[in-house]
Symmetry: C2
Subunit: 178 residues, 2 copies
């Protein structure tokens, strides 16, 4: 279902931009990430997506990337669903705009899939705004399909849930079967 390598022994060096290293996030990273998010995502007001709790309780299935000047290069915050242990969810993934299309987002996802596949997860889900063409193309390249089942209707040419998280919030649901 996917062309994302999930085995821990992927041959060759990780496919990330030069000088970028990846590690587990810690609570102290929260502020550094939060101040960046709006800039990275076209000035949407997104700080509310990342309260500190994600960095306190979900670090074990999340990743942060830094460039060698110490700046945050990207991050992924995800978890295994307590209600559906065979399912994992990526809450937020972001990369610095000038580092995009260089494999960093793919590498963050590869590590997350490795994390959760080892815990019995069989399906990964994520969402984005129906208008976010960049994220939709990225997830499609990783092998995700767009859910087009009950509850969805075409919005901006993609199947989306209207009023998903709140009023006038139209979301696309990505699904990847492992």
């Amino acid at each position: 279902m996917t062309d994302v390598p999930t085995a821990p022994d992927v041959p060759g060096a990780p496919d990330v931009p030069a000088g970028v290293t990846i590690r587990r996030p810690v609570e102290a990273d929260h502020r550094r990430v939060v101040v960046l998010v709006d800039d990275w995502w076209g000035d949407r007001r997104l700080q509310h997506l990342l309260p500190r709790l994600w960095f306190q309780h979900f670090g074990g299935t999340s990743w942060i990337a830094e460039s060698d000047d110490g700046r945050v290069a990207g991050f992924l915050v995800g978890f295994v669903s307590p209600d559906h242990p065979e399912r994992a969810y990526v809450h937020v993934i972001g990369t610095r705009p000038n580092l995009r299309r260089q494999g960093l987002g793919r590498e963050l996802y590869r590590r997350f899939l490795e994390d959760v596949a080892g815990r019995g997860v069989r399906q990964v889900r994520a969402i984005t705004w129906a208008a976010n063409r960049g994220s939709i193309a990225f997830h499609r390249r990783l092998g995700f399909r767009l859910h087009d089942g009950p509850g969805t209707s075409p919005i901006y040419g993609v199947p989306a849930f209207a009023d998903y998280d709140s009023e006038a919030d139209d979301k696309v649901l990505f699904i990847l079967d492992l």
Copy 2:
């Protein structure tokens, strides 16, 4: 540390207002709860605290209360920390304003403590705004202490973390040792 009963065999009927029943939330409850939250909490803009994911993945440690006319009477959304399995976190608890001071919030907490104590949790944490005197008094009545360790300073007369989730967001941290 607390006067909240945590044993599953608490004698007598649950101490909730007449006509109120409590069950596990499901995803379909998300919209019903989200449209209420701002009203209940003095028109703070809080919908962003409750994206749909909480109702998709954390229902097994959450509760929703309804009155016999079918309206939402209260809810609690919480989880056991994946990074710290001995710790649980209450993300949001709310009760309908005209049902407060009747034991419903306490009963929601009692059920949550019962949930998590059975999974090995030894400490429960929650936060609120430093100015939220009602929530601070409520948590104190339940036996929570206000964390006053490193990183806190007095704000509105209580120990609080400045800029906790975002700029100018001052939060009090409640801790209950089981």
